[in-house]
Point group: C2
Chain length 254, copies 2
């Protein structure tokens, strides 16, 4: 492999494509997101992306080491969008919840990309920035380091895991509408009531609840538990001591 990928910052010459497009990491990633949305989570191919960009497929290898590398960059982009849509208020529980919801929403906004990307730890800058932010919130709130690390771990894994799961389900539903969505809605209804009495008894409730995400509810129980732990450590302060004067929107998402 004689070829080297030139890092974006060191890129000097921008030579337009035969079809006129001027490439960049940014443009490629954004186009990839579009292709994913249009062609599904398995529809991102080097050739298709090349066509969408108006460039030869092999040109991509000047920007990314391979499709896998590009995939990681897409994940990083999703994480970046989550971070951008979030802003701190100083109240730990509010901030943590908003950040979690921002991550979840950012993934669900690009289900196909998320399904492809999620559960890949990239170690790229924006992802690390999220980690630093979470730890900062927890430690500033007064959690002792071991507790903070435990909560950080639970929080980030919970959020990523649900983002992946829900995005996967959403992507599947959007792609194979004929096959899978029908399966989803009809699966429970079609089951023989005598073999599956409990499912039969709750079929209506199931059909109503399953299309929604369980993430917010589970996140809240985690935050409840965290608040209880914090109260045990600092019985006096915790959630009560906010200035109460200023209340910037808790992270507009979507």
């Amino acid at each position: 492999m004689a070829k080297q990928v030139v890092p974006e910052s060191a890129r000097r010459r921008r030579r337009p494509t035969q079809q006129g497009t001027v490439l960049s990491e940014r443009l490629i990633v954004h186009t990839a997101l579009r292709v994913l949305r249009e062609h599904g989570s398995t529809g991102l191919t080097a050739r298709r992306l090349g066509t969408a960009l108006g460039a030869d497929p092999s040109t991509l290898y000047r920007y990314f080491a391979g499709m896998d590398d590009l995939t990681r960059a897409i994940g990083e982009e999703l994480m970046g969008q989550a971070l951008d849509s979030w802003s701190a208020t100083g109240e730990w529980r509010t901030d943590l919840r908003a950040l979690g919801v921002a991550i979840h929403s950012s993934y669900l906004a690009h289900p196909q990309a998320a399904a492809l990307t999620a559960s890949r730890v990239t170690g790229r800058p924006r992802e690390i920035a999220v980690d630093e932010t979470i730890l900062g919130i927890l430690r500033t709130a007064g959690f002792p380091d071991p507790t903070a690390v435990r909560l950080y771990h639970a929080f980030i894994d919970l959020s990523l895991a649900f983002a992946a799961l829900d995005a996967g389900a959403l992507a599947l539903a959007e792609e194979a509408r004929a096959t899978d969505e029908e399966m989803w809605t009809s699966t429970y209804a079609r089951l023989p009531a005598d073999s599956y009495p409990h499912i039969a008894a709750t079929a209506r409730l199931l059909a109503a609840r399953m299309p929604h995400s369980a993430y917010p509810a589970v996140l809240d129980t985690l935050l409840d538990s965290a608040a209880a732990q914090l109260a045990a450590v600092r019985p006096t302060a915790t959630t009560r001591n906010r200035p109460a004067g200023r209340k910037p929107r808790p992270a507009g998402e979507r």
Copy 2:
């Protein structure tokens, strides 16, 4: 597509392969698990599986509609192994926890297969059996139907999501030992302390905690919350009352 996949039950003739193997759905799925373990989560190909079975790749299409169908069957196998390794005691919390851990363990026992499979809802028998079991435990324990359904939803999604996430991380670590595991351990340590003070301050704790799964801890907080809700409905029975401070909060979602 003129070809039809004959369901396993209706299969009459078992003609040995040129190399002597007698095929079956079971054998194919088990061999696929072995191939996955040996060649990684992207290493399961029709040709490779054919070779491993001593059969022509196209023979697989007599048993499965395509590689995607085979993938679903593999997921179903994992779910079946989880269910087989579990047994009920009658105590709802014990049973639920054990079932969750069984699912999680079953996936982690085949990380590559899990990474490929997870977050695919199959709608196959064993998966539905798990759903029925969970709902049965909750309803028998005395949870009102709406609460039972809410908890079922949170429980199964939480378990599947973490199974997928943890299996993905494990598979990645086992496959690309040179690339990613090093990245994992060294990522946090290498960061400049002035840009990422919180990560730097907790680097040791992070390195100790991150290789483990957060699933058990999160599952327990969910079960805590469930127990509290049950106590509110049936104050007399089951678990002891919660430590008086918190009300379970009905967990509004979205």
